[in-house]
Amino acid sequence: MSWAAHQFEVYAVQAHLPKKMRGRVSFWGIWLGDFTPDFLSKFWVYGITIRGKHYGASVPERWHRGWPGMGFTHTLSLGVILAGALWLWRRDRALTVGYLLGFAAHALTDVNDSVGTMLLFPFTTLNWSLGTWAYAATVGGGKYLDAAAYYSSLGLVMDLFWLLVVLASWRVLTREHWRTQIVPADPHIWSWLGKRMPERSMLALYRATFFYGVARMVAWSTWAHLIARPVINGVRHRGYPYDLSWTGPWWIRAKSLPHASPLIVLPATLALLGLVYWGTSRLWDPMGRAQRRLRT
């Protein structure tokens, strides 16, 4: 799974919209779409322990990304269905398109770990994985071991990559961008918030997901490499060892599910990303006309 990358990609999507959509796609739509897959599935991955008894998935990777399980929450087909339902409910192009782009960003970036996602579900339940780093959610290790593995592997590079993408588009975090591109695309939400909080608070709320992404990356990395004293293969270490090799780190067994050939995963993922952008771009104008018709 990806960690802070999911926070950063919300802004990266916002910064790289097709020209005709700039300033017109809902930031909250992108945020909600990106948030949905893990919101629906992740609570049971680590589970909870009450009075010494653990409640949670017995096979976390199957629950999270597989079938049978909640793996369908990380598929483009569910993204399309939920975006369609959102359109039927709200008839709001900015929100619907934003939601689909955010959802797709989450489902597609999660192909990077060793479990991947069922990209072509329901046509096939095979997982599509690049195996860039180890999927490390375990019943015993919980969130701590998962974080340690992620921030010791190419997962850390993934987070830094998305952070750099956002920083390269730094204007997306400015007050000017928020005023001219974000607020006009979501006038009702920001207007409602504007009656309850000052501008500086709304701007902070807009930037808050980025802030949280940076904070969790720094805090988990600091804990994993400066504070933790793990025992690996009987040897006590000062911090979890880094391993930036493919499907690392070496000190944890990478989880996996039946999957498609890794050789076709990257082209297929890029093709699907292109398809989502092409599809939303083609639907943008007809949706706008339908929205205007319904509101006049």
């Binding site: 300033g23 948030f35 969130k143 701590y144 007050r175 005023r179 001219t180 607020v183 006009p184 006038p187 920001w190 207007s191 504007g194 009656k195 909080m197 000052p198 501008e199 500086r200 608070s201 709304m202 701007l203 902070a204 709320l205 930037r207 808050a208 997901t209 802030f211 949280y212 940076v214 904070a215 969790r216 720094v218 805090a219 988990w220 600091t222 804990w223 504070i227």
Partner: protein, 68 residues
């Protein structure tokens, strides 16, 4: 200008430099606290922490100045 104009209700409320200090305060305190207590590292507390510091930090400072 048209749609590029900000809504009237959204007024500028201070120099960017002054606000940046509160972002830094929020970042340092949150990362510090969250490194010790991982339970704070979640999508609800993180954003709320930033909004609370940026909102109430300047208010608290203003009140302290008035008292002096």
């Amino acid at each position: 200008m048209g749609s590029k104009q900000p809504p009237k209700s959204l007024e500028h409320d201070g120099p960017a430099g002054g606000t940046a200090v509160w972002y830094a305060v929020a970042g340092i305190t949150y990362i510090g606290a969250a490194t010790v207590e991982k339970g704070l590292l979640n999508w609800l507390v993180g954003p709320a922490w930033l909004v609370a510091v940026v909102t109430f930090g300047p208010l608290g400072r203003r009140r302290r100045r008035r008292r002096r």
